[in-house]
Subunit: 338 residues, 2 copies
Amino acid sequence: MLSERRLEVLRAIVQDYVGTEEPVGSKALTERHRLGVSPATVRNDMAVLEDEGYIAQPHTSAGRIPTDKGYRLFVDKMAGVKPLSSAERRAIQNFLDGAVDLDDVVARTVRLLAQLTRQVAVVQYPSLTRSSVRHVELLALAPARIMLVLITDTGRVEQRLIDCQAPVGETVLADLRARLNSRVVGRRFADVPPLVQDLPESFDPDDRPAVAGVLATLLETLVEQTEERIMLGGAANLTRFNHDFPLTIRPVLEALEEQMVLLKLLGEATDSAMTVRIGHENFHEGLNSTSVVAVGYGSGDEAVAKLGVVGPTRMDYPGTMGAVRAVARYVGQILAES
Amino acid sequence: MLSERRLEVLRAIVQDYVGTEEPVGSKALTERHRLGVSPATVRNDMAVLEDEGYIAQPHTSAGRIPTDKGYRLFVDKMAGVKPLSSAERRAIQNFLDGAVDLDDVVARTVRLLAQLTRQVAVVQYPSLTRSSVRHVELLALAPARIMLVLITDTGRVEQRLIDCQAPVGETVLADLRARLNSRVVGRRFADVPPLVQDLPESFDPDDRPAVAGVLATLLETLVEQTEERIMLGGAANLTRFNHDFPLTIRPVLEALEEQMVLLKLLGEATDSAMTVRIGHENFHEGLNSTSVVAVGYGSGDEAVAKLGVVGPTRMDYPGTMGAVRAVARYVGQILAES
DNA sequence: CCTGGCACTCCGCCGTTTCGAGTGCCAGCT
DNA sequence: AGCTGGCACTCGAAACGGCGGAGTGCCAGG
C-alpha cells in the first residue's frame, strides 16, 4: 500500500501532466504544489511509484508521466466528479430544450458533449431491445404493400416495407393493427416475440400469409436493430491534443468509424453506472492512448442507451466525468418529457 | 491560348503530382512521359504556364505544382470521367442491395464512397422540399396527444408530437387523416401549404383548434426540415494525404462538422449535374486546399439530394468523378425500388 | 526518514555544412 | 523561330556536432 504522501505525489503528477502535457519533474512538482517536502524526497517517492508501475519516464533523465495504471488509481481513489457550474447547467438545458425530435436530441447531445469536454463525443440511440412499444402502425401504401412503423417510448421510430403476395383488405389490416397494439403496447421489445406468436391462427386462412409476413418483419426488425445506431462528433478535437503525434490520430479515427468498436467502447453493461476505461483497458489497438468515459441514460431509472466521450488518456477526468454525467441526466429528462 | 504541347505538359504535371505528391521537375517529366522534347524545352513551357498562373513553385529551385487554376483547366479540358471496373460496379450493387431502410441506405452509401475514393464522403438525406408525400399518418398516443408521421416517396420518415388542449375524438382524427391524405398524397412538399389551408373550416368548431394544431405542426415540419440532414464518413482518409501537414487537417475537420458548411459544399443547385469545386472555389477558409466533387441523385430524373466527396486538391479527379457518379446512379436505383 | 549536494545522462535546440534536384539563361544548331 | 545542351546559381533537406539544461540516482549528513 502506498503512503498518503505518495498518493499525493501521484495526484500532483497527474494533474500537472494533464495541464502541461509534458513530463513533470521533481523540482517543478514541489514548486507548483505544497507538498511540504524537498525535491529529493519527491524523487525517492517517484522511484517507488515507478517501481510499482504507476508512472514511467519516456527516457532516462526526463520527467515522469502517469501510466494507465497510474490514471486508474487516480480515477478510483482520488478523483471526484467535478460538478458543473450553474452557467454550464443552464447552457445544457437551453441547448437541449430546443430539440424537435429524437434525431435532433441525439445530434444536439453529441455537439454539446463535444463542446463541453472538448473531446470526441459518442451517443448511442435509445436501444430498441431495452425500450418499450408505444405504438405499432400498419399503413397500406398499395394494395399488396404495407409499411410497418414502430414507435418506442423513447421517441425512436423504425419503419419497414412489406411486400405481400396478395392484396390485404383494409379491414383485415385494421383488425391486425388493433390486436397487435393491444398485445404489445407498453411491453419491452424483448418481450414481444412470444406475445404475438399465435396471432396468425386467429385470422382467416386467406389472410394468414400476410399476417405472418407482417409479424416476420416485425420480429426481424427487433433482432436486426439490436445492432444499434450511434452518432459521434467533435472529431476535430482530436487535433487539439496530439499536436506532435499526427501519427497517432489516424488509428483513432479509423477505430471511431467502426460501429462495432464504438459499441464495445461504450460497453454492453445495462446498468447506468459511469464507466471509465483507460488506455489498454479498451482492448483495442490504436485506442491504447485514449480513454473512454461512458454512462447510461434513460427516461426512467434504467438506462436505454449509453453516451460518453473518447479522449486522450491524459484527460481531465473529474471535469469530463462531471460533464458526461450531467449531460446524461438532462437527456434522460428530455426523453421522459417527450 | 496555350499550345497543344503546353497543355500536355500541364496534364503531365497534374498526373505526376497527384501520383507522387511531390513537386515535379522538368527532367522527371520527360522521363516519365513521352513528350518528345528535351527538359530545356519543358522548362520554357513551364515558365509560360507559371506566368499564366496554372502552376507554381513552392520556392525557387523546386519543382512545380498545379495551382487551383491549373486543376480547373485540367478538369474542364483534359480529364474525362473514368468509368469503374465491372468488379467495382458489382461491389457497389452488392453493398447497397443489403440496405433495409433509408438510414441504412445513406449509411452504406457513405461508407462505400469513402472506401472507393479513399476520401471523405458526404451524403445528403433526400430533401423534404424536393420529395413528394407518400403518406400522412396521425396516431392518438393519448387522448390529447397526437403523433404526426410523414412518409416521403424516398422512404424518409419524419415524426412530430402534438399536444392538444382538448381531447380529440378518434372519428375526428380518422376524418382529418383521410382528408389530409386525399389532398396531399403524391404532392411535392413545397406544394402542400396552399392545399391544406382551408381544412379547418370544414370541421366542427370544437375540433378546429386541434386540426389547426396538426396543420401548424405539419407546415412547421416542412419548413424546419429545409435544414437538411447530412451524413459523412471516411474522416480517417484525411490522414492518408497531408501526412506532413497535421496542421492542415484541423480546419478541415472543423469545417466538416458544420452542417451549414457541408450543405454549401454540396451546392444548392437543384440540377443533378456533377460539380467540381477546387480549392478557393469553395469560398471557405480552411478548405482552401480541398476539392469537392458532388452530384445530385434521385429516384427519377430529378435530384432529391446530393452526395459527394471532399478531398485534397491533389486528387485523382477522373477516378473520383467516376466513383461519385456511379454511386449516385445506384443509390437512385435503390430509392426508386423502395 | 528527510535533505542538500553532486556527478551524470541524454534530449532538444541551433548553427554549420554538404548535397543535389531543379531552375534560368545563353549560345548554338536545325 | 523554335529546340537543345551546357552551365552557373539557388535554396531546401538532411546530416553533423556542439552545447545547455532539466532531470535523475545516489550518498552522506542531519
